[in-house]
């Protein structure tokens, strides 16, 4: 289990704390181990030059050319399909034959009715 003074010890190890904290560290198993770990790593890396972090600048949004090309291809293919659909000859379809005979009879009936009405008007 970690010591409650862990953060204070880490700050002290980093040189940000009072020497009085050494009394606690020397008597605390957890904090002593922290100190030993940091000292040993510091010793091992004493000749290694550590580079400062490279800060990544915020870049403008990157254009996704792949998607752009794909979208263009879809548009071209779409137009091509439409064009071929327009210029291709419309396949012949058998016209639906209306019931012309029956239609003529209806017309005849209507004409007869109209004539009868006109006659009635003439009588009046």
């Amino acid at each position: 289990m970690n010591c409650v003074e862990r953060e204070r010890t880490l700050a002290w190890i980093g040189g940000e704390g009072n020497d009085a904290h050494a009394v606690h560290v020397s008597g605390c198993v957890d904090c002593s181990q922290l100190l030993t770990l940091h000292e040993e790593v510091g010793f091992a890396l004493r000749k290694v030059e550590i580079q400062a972090p490279v800060l990544v600048r915020a870049r403008p949004p990157r254009i996704r050319w792949g998607w752009l090309v794909l979208a263009a291809a879809v548009v071209v293919i779409g137009f091509g399909y439409r064009w071929t659909a327009v210029v291709e000859p419309i396949p012949s379809v058998d016209p639906v034959l209306l019931d012309a005979e029956g239609f003529d009879e209806d017309i005849d009936d209507l004409e007869a009715e109209i004539a009868a009405i006109e006659e009635d008007f003439d009588i009046l």
Partner: protein, 169 residues
């Protein structure tokens, strides 16, 4: 009376401390040991037994060593003489480069916010509070990230055989 007893204690542990420091920093050991004893005296801490006093002295010493490594990290030539190592030796150069490459690889493997803390501390000695402000986190988070980075690096150093395996790494 306290001063006399402290002096006796210092005498009892002086050689052990100097030997420990010499293994770490070579010819800088004398100067560093003076600084340790100065801090021990200034602390006015009292210890019932010899073991507690010794632990306190070496705690102060380890803490000062960390400062020393940080200050001299970019000046490896200052440590060459101390350890009898010669970086002109191609073999030593190879080892140094392998270590540097491995450390760099380990830092790249870490989350950026963790490696950033370590890099800022090691390369520019940025304070933890400043790092916390830069990262927009609390001080304890920055401290925890530093420890995490050190822990990861220690694991890599154990794998490389630079550090001996330990229980709590």
């Amino acid at each position: 009376m306290h001063a006399v007893r402290l002096e006796d204690r210092i005498d009892r542990h002086r050689d052990a401390l100097t030997a420990f420091l010499r293994r770490r920093v070579g010819s800088d050991a004398e100067e560093l040991s003076q600084e340790v004893w100065l801090r021990v005296v200034r602390s006015q801490a009292r210890f019932a037994d010899e073991a507690a006093f010794r632990a306190f002295v070496f705690t102060i010493a380890r803490r000062l060593l960390i400062d020393h490594y940080r200050k001299h990290q970019r000046k490896p030539e200052m440590l060459e003489e101390a350890e009898g190592q010669d970086l002109e030796n191609p073999e030593n150069q190879l080892v140094a480069h392998q270590l540097a490459d491995r450390v760099d690889a380990e830092l790249r493997k870490m989350k950026p916010e963790i490696s950033q803390v370590f890099r800022w501390r090691a390369s520019e000695q940025v304070s933890f509070q400043e790092i916390a402000d830069r990262q927009g986190v609390g001080l304890n988070t920055a401290l925890g990230r530093m420890h995490r980075a050190v822990q990861k690096l220690s694991e890599a150093l154990v794998d490389l055989g630079v550090l001996p395996p330990g229980e709590d790494r």
